[in-house]
Amino acid sequence: MTTLTDPGGHGPAATSTDPTDPATARARASGTSTAPIAPPASDALLSATVRYSARRCTALVLVALAGAGANLVLPVALGRALDLLLTADPAATRWVLWCATLMLLLAVLDAVETVVGGTTNARATAWLRRRLTGHVLAVGPRAVARSGPGDLVARLVGNAAQAGTAPATVAALLAALAGPVGAVVALALIDPWPAGVFLVGAPVLALLLRGLARDSSACVTRYQELQGRIAGGLAEAVAGARTIAAAGTAGRTVARVLRPLPELSREGHRMWRVQGRAAAQAAAVAPLLQIGVLATAGALLARRQVSVGELLAASRYAVLAAGVGVLVGQLSGLVRARAAARRLSEVLAEPPLAYGEHRLPPSGRGRLELRGVTVRRGARPVLDGVDLVVPAGTTLAVVGRSGAGKSLLAAVAGRLVDPDEGEVRLDGVPLRALDRRELREAITHAFERPALLGDSIEDTIALGVSRPAPGRVRRAAEAARADVFIDRLPHGYATRCAEAPLSGGEAQRLGLARAFTRAPRLLVLDDALSSLDTVTERHITAALLHGTPARTRLLITHRPTTAASADTVVWLDGGRVRATGTHRELWRLPGYRELFGAGGDGSVGAGGASGGVRNVGRSGPAGPAGRAGRAGRAGRVGRAGKRSASDGVCGPPFPARGET
């Protein structure tokens, strides 16, 4: 058995603070003042992104404009060179050289644009992502409150990449506009007729391109529906994989899951046909437009109103002018970037959890106070004026139906969430006023379903403000009874989390081990024993209660054994404290018994209250234990119960208040 704490150790940086009221008031003031709630508009974020890349943006604009200019000059130069060549003019060589220079310049500009544009996108994206992840981490669990973790990941990955293209898109926009406009003007300069033909034909082009968008989305829905059916069947089969493997019915199952495949294939073919029609239209329009311009120019050539070179130039300008599609693409890219930026600024609008600078008094041992704590979700109070005092070193169990607000109470007690009203104090210091590291060292949590972060099993246990020594990780795993299954993993503690085949109970034990690596003043277990079998649970509860003499514990539980092992039980109902007392006392209340699925007969539970963990570690049969401990009852909840580690129990006698 491991001792989990070195008593008195409250983290390396525990310095003295004066938890008097003025101090806390100051802290609170500073705490609130450091929470700027000014949701930046999406355009603000977008322009911030562009500003971040200002120099690159400027460079890109210049390069793109130079490129557009060179592109506009080139047809004239080509035409001139061709005319001179056809007349065998000696000046032709100079013009050919000009053309070569222009094309080289274009290639160089293109290369510069490719590199600078690409790196600008990458740089802006990285900047956005770093900024956003930092913010999300500072906000904490509320960041996923609105739309869930999956959506947040999509924002950080996909939307950040889209918004990151904004600087380069903005820079390219001007050039994309300059190209087609300049081409039409140049066309008109050669002769107004070809320009006129182009301008008349262009709307036709636009109309036909619209047809593309109208047609193609028709059969996508059915396709996705069928895809969903296959995915549904696969999800069922993956969940039932063991059955299928054992029965050897994989082939049958695969065939059944794939039943909608032929129809999916038909729908797929239809999608391609629709797209093919649209593409055919698009493929025809631009060349026809160009032929129109050529025909006009040709007729003028026949009348010697334009030269061969000018005809060549006109045909090139027609192509350039038809590149108006590029402009449309750039614009829609900008629209996408803006939409993405809006989704990102929604993330940034969530205010971060603000921390104070105060430290805990070194003498404190983890007295937790909740004063009038109310938390609302929407208009509904989920916790409603909860007052609680957990004396230092005692164990409080919180029970209640699901939805009663238990987990929220645990989150408020550990400041994962701030109450809308009221205050939570640890050893007299309001949690809001506490320094972040101090707070997180002083309070640790274990959850029903811990997130297994970090690369390896060892990493996930060691997760915290500072990295604990490997030995400590091992000891904590032992205390959480996780060592047995960790040793059985392919690489023990170095096994990657993703590769570790962990059950819910095993994951829970890793979460407990994470909590056990620290020596906090307050340990919050949010239903963290729920997936353990009763034997293992008893061992862990024993470690929890006896291996850690000096800390306060808050246990959210559904199990009577756990409730029985606590000094005090708080029965939460509809966000309010319905009753407080020992498990044995509360057991007399029928409603309390019903919480545990027990019927009217109260005697069973009363006997049960004496069970639990207290015997563990004694050499002989001790009989219904805890009696001695229970005898030494202190006063009200508010009065700190003195507690001797050997007694194991020291409950405030708090008579059951009954149903309030």
């Binding site: 058995m1 056809l86 050919v96 053309c99 590199v115 544009g117 996108n121 994206t125 992840t133 999300v136 996923v144 990941v153 296959i230 089969a237 993956v238 039932g240 029965a247 019915t249 082939g251 049958r252 199952t253 695969v254 065939a255 093919g276 025909a295 040709g298 050539l301 061969v308 979700r377 939805g403 009663a404 987990s407 989150a411 994962l416 949590h445 379903r449 811990p450 997760l463 047995v484 059985r488 993993l489 392919p490 990657r496 993703a498 085949p501 059950s503 819910g504 109970g505 729920s530 997936s531 353990l532 034997v535 959210i556 199990r559 009577p560 018994r593 545990f596 027990a598 049969p621 009989g623």
Partner: protein
């Protein structure tokens, strides 16, 4: 202390070395259910090991065109037993025994028999992606031919566009005959229309290539998902397959377009004036060569970028649902550092990719733009050789309007979507690498299809009577280390000899040197704390997991073996019910549709009748999501009851039923003719009802009857104590632990030393109400939430 042989390091699966690239890391973990830690051990690919260790045939590749090998469901043949292999149950008078092996252990059996031929992977030889691509196209030669035929129209368009322009100038406009010029341009316009028609048709042909690929990928993903229980398969199905579909289509379009456009342009140049080719072709070839040379480094950068991007997404996918834990632990800095590293890595990869993009620009400049300059420079020479002005203009048109755009599309399309496709395909349809991940073939004794095929043999006496009163006192249990040789008696239902199992070469064994003999007709319960290896044992018995050492026999047949599946049925905790008719669900383990009466009888036996009536009889279509976990378990139990297997393994298969329903279901199997029942117990009652109980406690085990174990196994007492609804059990902590002859403790230590501070408390406890007799508080699989508990307005509020 025997039985520990740490020096034995057989050639068990190589440890995972490569990072798992799977998405949804956290989710998949959260979704795995309590008590089933076994088969997701990673092999060298980081993927879960295949769960079939039974020599199951993997159907060969099936394409939409119908080629390929195995018909769907060919492996059903393996699962159709027609026998109970012989004689009445209870051969050795219900004496389930286990012994401390006295004889030297059998020579360690190679845990992985060399892959045998039935495990032919989907693609027999593996020439890598390009090779597979070529074969894929080769099989669809007719489609390719059609594609070529329609593409020729585009070639014609390309050709005519330049040629008509040249003729329009030379014959028409320059000759002063505007009408002729316009006529030639009209020809060009007609060619454009025809070419566009061809483009539309090309899409149809591309669909005929792409859709089969999609079908095939979907098939592969579903197969792998089903066989390897890979949750990642779902994202593969919906996203990666679509990426593959789109990129492959793009690839076909772009490369085809380049080939045929280039052909049309070159033919056009030749027909205008052959010397033009001398000017245009060399730079074009150089440009394409440059591009092809750059393809590999570019693809590598592209892939590096995709990998970095995916790694970042995976990392964030773990961080976002874990924000609660990060905040609670105060680990913001370290997590920010970690994700920051991911962001930086992605940035570096993207930057590198952008820089290498210069190569594309260079190949474009050389292949597409240099010919223009050269045409101008060589114009005097060309004109001197009779090249007309119109031909020169036509050549310029070919270069600038056909070749350059086609090359541009090729360079950008192949560079990006090509490597994207490669990455996705490699992930979706990995070529099996036999050297790394040996597919588990059938055992050394294949005995293909040679099991008795006679009708199911009914036992002479009702089985309930055959073994109703397994002796409940330790004294009555026969001493067993000396197995009386009983040559004529049929083999035991189940024998394990010195079985050792671990999840990796470096991992501590879950089961070590276990010997167990279960005669026919026995009702055996397996108990122990959660995660101790009960399900692992069930998996080994069923042949889903291969022991590192030792051997397993079911009804005298080696496990895993070709026929072992016919001898047992395993029902795990998470009942598999699929969308389909109830009859289909119930008859899943039978080769042919089951008669209605038999369905109703089985339903009655396990207690499914009420549900069956409510759903509307066997023909009713069922939606698994609409059924409760307990109802799904009842369906799975009825399915097992209907199967022909003589050995039934219930691995907490009744955990969602109430105790009465559980008892009814278990009794149904006890009454089932010729059945040996192995129950991984969920409640005390299961152990109580059993003839024999196996108590697992780490590597130590104890075996005996209920009464026997109550006196000598503290752990068993402890488990019973917390479970038992009955009065206090005798608390005699001084009961001798090793005195019983039926003791099966491979290591000669007491099951749990008394006074062990880590041990369990020997004192009986009254049952706590509300524990419901559950030994495992199971989060039912269906209710498992993703790790991100803190969600949504209700986050902290709605729960708790």
């Amino acid at each position: 202390m025997r039985g520990r042989r740490p020096d034995r390091q057989p050639n068990s699966p190589t440890p995972a070395t490569e990072p798992d690239s799977g998405e949804q890391r956290v989710e998949s973990r959260a979704a795995s259910s309590e008590e089933h830690p076994e088969p997701r051990t990673a092999n060298s690919e980081g993927r879960p090991e295949p769960r079939t260790a039974d020599g199951e045939k993997r159907p060969g590749p099936r394409t939409a065109d119908g080629e390929g090998t195995g018909p769907v469901g060919s492996d059903r043949a393996d699962a159709t037993p027609g026998d109970t292999v012989g004689a009445p149950p209870g051969g050795t008078a219900g004496s389930a025994t286990a012994r401390v092996v006295a004889e030297p252990p059998a020579p360690p059996r190679t845990p992985h028999p060399t892959p045998a031929k039935p495990t032919a992977p989907p693609h027999t030889p593996h020439p890598g992606l390009p090779g597979r691509g070529v074969r894929f196209l080769w099989r669809r030669a007719s489609v390719v031919v059609r594609l070529v035929a329609w593409s020729v129209l585009e070639t014609a368009q390309t050709f005519l566009m330049g040629y008509a322009l040249a003729q329009a100038l030379d014959e028409g406009f320059l000759a002063g005959r505007a009408g002729v010029g316009l006529a030639w341009l009209g020809v060009g316009a007609a060619a454009v229309v025809v070419g566009a028609f061809g483009t539309g048709r090309v899409y149809g042909c591309v669909a005929a290539l792409v859709e089969p690929l999609r079908d095939r990928l979907v098939r592969g993903v579903v197969e792998r998902g089903v066989r390897e229980a890979d949750d990642g398969a779902l994202s593969g199905l919906t996203q990666q397959v679509e990426i593959a579909r789109d990129t492959f289509a793009g690839l076909v379009m772009v490369s085809r377009s380049f080939v045929f456009t280039a052909a049309g342009a070159l033919v056009g140049l030749f027909s205008l004036a052959p010397p033009l080719l001398l000017v245009v072709v060399p730079p074009l070839v150089v440009g394409v060569a440059l591009f092809l040379a750059s393809l590999r480094p570019l693809a590598r950068r592209q892939e590096a970028f995709l990998v970095a991007d995916e790694a970042l997404a995976t990392g964030l996918g773990a961080v976002c649902p874990g924000l609660r834990d990060i905040t609670a632990a105060g680990a913001e800095e370290s997590v920010a550092d970690d994700t920051g590293r991911g962001v930086d890595a992605e940035y570096r990869a993207a930057r590198s990719l952008a820089r290498w993009g210069v190569l594309r620009v260079a190949s474009l400049a050389v292949g597409g733009q240099l010919p223009v300059v050269l045409l101008l420079a060589a114009a005097p020479w060309l004109l001197a050789r009779g090249v007309t002005a119109g031909a020169l203009i036509g050549a310029l048109a070919y270069v600038t309007q056909s070749l350059l755009p086609a090359l541009q599309n090729l360079v950008h399309g192949l560079g990006t979507s090509g490597s994207r496709l490669a990455v996705v395909l490699r992930r979706l349809a990995p070529a099996d690498e036999p050297s790394h991940a040996p597919r588990r073939g059938p055992g050394p004794a294949p005995a293909p299809m040679t099991r008795p095929t006679g009708p199911r043999q009914e036992p002479a006496s009702p089985p309930a009577a055959a073994h109703p009163t397994a002796p409940r006192t330790p004294a009555a249990a026969p001493p067993t280390p000396t197995d009386p040789p009983l040559p004529p008696t049929p083999p035991d239902a189940l024998t394990l000899s010195s079985v050792t199992f671990a999840y990796g070469p470096a991992a501590a064994p879950v089961i070590e040197d276990l010997d167990l003999r279960v005669p026919r007709g026995t009702h055996l319960a397996v108990v122990g704390p959660s995660g101790i290896g009960k399900s692992t044992l069930a998996g080994i018995v069923a042949g889903l997991l291969l022991p590192r050492h030792g051997s397993v026999h079911l009804c005298g047949h080696r496990v895993p073996g070709a026929t072992s599946r016919a001898h047992r049925v395993l029902i795990p905790q998470e009942a598999y019910v699929f969308r389909g008719s109830l009859a289909e669900n119930l008859g899943e383990l039978r080769p042919k549709p089951v008669p209605q009466e038999e369905l109703w009888a089985a339903a009655e036996a396990v207690g499914l009748t009420e549900l069956m009536e409510r759903l509307g009889g066997p023909g009713a279509e069922i939606d698994p999501g609409a059924l409760s976990a307990g109802e799904r378990q009842l369906i799975a139990l009825a399915r097992a009851h209907l199967s022909d297997a003589p050995v039934v393994i219930l691995d907490e298969a009744t955990c969602h039923l109430d105790p009465e329903a559980e008892e009814r279901a278990e009794r149904a199997f006890v009454r089932r003719p010729g059945t040996t029942l192995v129950v991984v117990a969920h409640r005390a009652g299961s152990a109580h009802r059993a003839d024999r109980v196996l108590v697992m406690d780490g590597r130590r085990v104890a075996f005996g009857t209920h009464d026997d174990l109550m006196t000598r196994s503290p752990l068993y007492r402890d488990l019973m104590g917390t479970w038992s609804p009955t009065a206090p059990v005798p608390s005699s902590p001084t009961a001798p632990v090793l005195s019983s002859p039926t003791d099966l403790v491979p290591s000669s230590e007491p099951a749990l030393a008394l006074g062990d501070p880590d041990g369990v408390d020997p004192v009986a406890r009254a049952r706590l109400a509300g524990d419901g007799g559950h030994v495992v508080a199971h989060g039912p699989v269906g209710q498992m939430k993703a790790a991100g508990d803190l969600r949504d307005g209700g986050t902290l509020g709605s729960q708790g």
